[in-house]
């Protein structure tokens, strides 16, 4: 049985139960909003709202370095704090926060395996008390964009055909049958996928309880679809949160050296005038 390349970035629910009150551990629940957190959260956890605190709605970008530093400081996070992230929605937005913290160079950030779903299924305690936080001092590093793909790079990768593009959306989104997950707002003018992309939905990396599959299972999942560590990999979805989850799997659980999250994702590519797309199964260029 193989092991994860970086097992230190993953903690289980029992570890969190034992360390949630540790003064050098900051537990944060991350989701698209904080409604689940308000209903009940792990004792000691703070909440980060992806829409309002991690994203800049004006520039459609991650928050700038100075805003990130202020977020860390008011969350009581210093540069040497161990940050444990978990969330609703299958840890998608927690994975985004992990990715964003790595962009700004935070050393010790981890995900709680299985997220909020597993914590609740195990019948563990939830509280509504909001912890009192002693503000910290934080200095972010210059952003590391080696883990982030912007549009020009993705366009170049499509032309050159040397990178593995991984579309982690559902098959119905990939083919173009639907423009957004059922029940969510359509954010693109057209459906389909980036030419040459492999469709490996995010959930194939997880067990039924939301925890990650074993290293051997993950290795087999990606390598049998030619997503191998010897080439650059770019993961995308609709807005970049599901692909953060897959980025985490490839970069930290499997140890691929060159993996980027394309957070512009289908909401960007699918709206581009004259950008080539494919509809249906892979290989049907439009």
């Amino acid at each position: 049985m193989g092991t994860y390349a970086h097992p230190e970035v993953l903690v289980d629910t029992e570890w969190v139960a034992q360390h949630a009150q540790d003064p050098n551990v900051r537990l944060v629940e991350v989701d698209v909003d904080t409604k689940s957190y308000e209903q009940g959260h792990i004792r000691g956890a703070l909440a980060w709202n992806w829409s309002e605190e991690l994203s800049d709605p004006v520039t459609r970008d991650i928050i700038p370095k100075e805003s990130f530093e202020r977020l860390m400081e008011r969350s009581g996070i210093a540069n040497d704090t161990t940050v444990v992230l978990y969330g609703d929605n299958n840890n998608w937005f927690a994975a985004w926060a992990f990715w964003q913290m790595k962009i700004y160079g935070h050393d010790d950030v981890r995900l709680m395996n299985g997220g909020r779903k597993k914590w609740i299924e195990e019948g563990r305690e939830l509280v509504q008390d909001i912890p009192t936080v002693q503000p910290a001092t934080y200095r972010a590093k210059e952003p590391d964009y080696s883990i982030r793909a912007f549009l020009p790079e993705v366009q170049r990768q499509v032309e050159e055909g040397k990178a593995a593009l991984v579309d982690v959306r559902s098959p119905a989104e990939f083919t173009g049958e639907i423009l957004a997950p059922p029940g969510l707002s359509e954010t693109a003018q057209r459906g389909g996928h980036i030419p040459g992309a492999h469709n490996i939905p995010w959930g194939q990396a997880c067990n039924e309880d939301g925890t990650f599959k074993s290293a051997d299972e993950l290795k087999d999942l990606y390598q049998r679809q030619e997503v191998t560590p010897d080439k650059p990999v770019v993961a995308y979805c609709r807005i970049g949160e599901r692909s953060s989850h897959t980025w985490f799997v490839l970069r930290y659980l499997l140890g691929y050296p060159d993996v980027k999250n394309y957070d512009g994702s289908w909401t960007e590519w699918g709206n581009l005038v004259r950008a080539p797309i494919e509809r249906g199964q892979a290989g049907a260029r439009t």
Partner: protein
């Protein structure tokens, strides 16, 4: 919003799968403190699309299902030809 919960464990946890407006959904409900909470996701890809609360499981699920159906009904299927 549930009544103030200070240290409660989820009880009566239940998960089941149904179809609504032509889509698979997972319905999760449990009791936390004195209230029942319900969350519904769209199975594939697994995004939460609705929540509900109530003094009974039925009330919480009814509220969440009503919201979920409204949202799912707006999802269009596009022809690939």
């Amino acid at each position: 919003m549930a009544g103030k919960v200070s240290g409660s464990r989820p009880q009566d946890y239940m998960r089941r799968r149904e179809r609504a407006e032509g889509w698979d959904i997972d319905i999760v409900s449990y009791k936390l403190g004195e209230r029942y909470l319900c969350e519904i996701d769209n199975v594939d890809p697994g995004a939460r699309i609705a929540r509900g609360e109530g003094v009974t499981r039925e009330e919480a699920e009814r509220s969440a299902l009503e919201a979920a159906r409204k949202r799912l009904a707006m999802t269009r299927r596009h022809s690939l030809h």
